[in-house]
Amino acid sequence: MSEDAIVERARRTSRRALWGTVLVVAVIAGLLWRNATRLSAVEGRLAAQADTLRALEHQKSALEQRVHSLNDAPDGGVRAARHRVENIASVQYDFFLWIDDAQRTAAPIREVRYSSPAWADSARTSTDARTGFAVFRRAPPPPCPDSTRVTVILANDSTLTYPVDLCQATTIGNR
């Protein structure tokens, strides 16, 4: 083989190597560019999505609050009724206390305690959701205005306290 042929062969090999290298670099650069653009696009979409998510969560919370305010009375649904006891010398009432909308609190109710300064003995407590946590107490009429307190204990251990005036309790009759 002549010297020229050897040189020509080396040139060809060198050119092939050069084009091969250019091709590899181009592929790598293309892949890097593709990754970078996809990453940037996804990050952009995620950021926009996070904004929408925050806005929707805020909207949902406001709507839940609206449903709550439309449904629930500010008195916590505490109700009281009284029935005058007949055929006894002293004036006595049968008092009934319960929770009207027990199903609508943020967490389920675990227990409700009713305590009146007019009741000499302990407070009344109910854990029975089926009766609206109702309690019964026979007692003389309290001094008016009355300041009975109703403590609602939720399943998550938080408590809500409401005042109720037994002097304003709805009077009920006999069958």
Partner: protein
């Protein structure tokens, strides 16, 4: 270099997956928000007949006189049976109570019939009585300030039995 490309591709795939998961959450939140919007609309201005439900509780309260027919169901020698305070009211959203003028509960007995009227919105138009047994069903008229009266039958005894009531025959 290959590792860097692979890592980049993996990161893109992870973020894509994150985006898909969050898209599902967004879709769910959208559905929930739509449902809440519909609920607000229903409560605030929907027809009242779909929003009112009579409710009752019976609270044990000493003993009361009861008829002889109650022999065998807890009636003692003095003619007394276990007594209950029956408390009957209308469950209605707070915001719609002011649409109601009064609620008439029609009690019909063997010898007497009576209408008891609840007029106080703050206690859910409550009526109550001390007795030994509920009525089976009572007609309830919800009289609106504007619009036709809503009439419904309230299966009182069944409502109490559903809540665990087990007295009587």
């Amino acid at each position: 270099m290959v590792v860097a490309i692979g890592y980049g591709a993996l990161q893109v795939r992870t973020l894509d997956e994150d985006y898909r998961v969050k898209s599902d959450s967004l879709e769910m939140l959208g559905v929930q928000a739509d449902s809440l919007r519909a609920e607000v609309e229903r409560i605030a201005s929907g027809p009242l007949d779909s929003l009112v439900t009579p409710r009752i509780v019976a609270v044990a309260a000493g003993r009361v006189s009861c008829p002889k027919a109650w022999d065998g169901y807890g009636r003692d020698a003095h003619g007394l049976c276990p007594g209950y305070g029956f408390l009957l009211w209308l469950d209605v959203p707070y915001a719609r109570r002011s649409d109601i003028r009064e609620v008439d509960y029609h009690f019909s007995g063997i010898t007497t019939s009576a209408v008891r009227t609840g007029t106080e919105p703050s206690n859910g138009f409550l009526v109550g009585w001390l007795g030994w047994y509920p009525w089976a069903t009572i007609p309830v008229d919800v009289v609106l300030k504007a619009g036709p009266t809503i009439s419904l039958d309230f299966p009182m005894e069944q409502a109490l039995r559903d809540a665990g009531w087990s007295e009587g025959p």
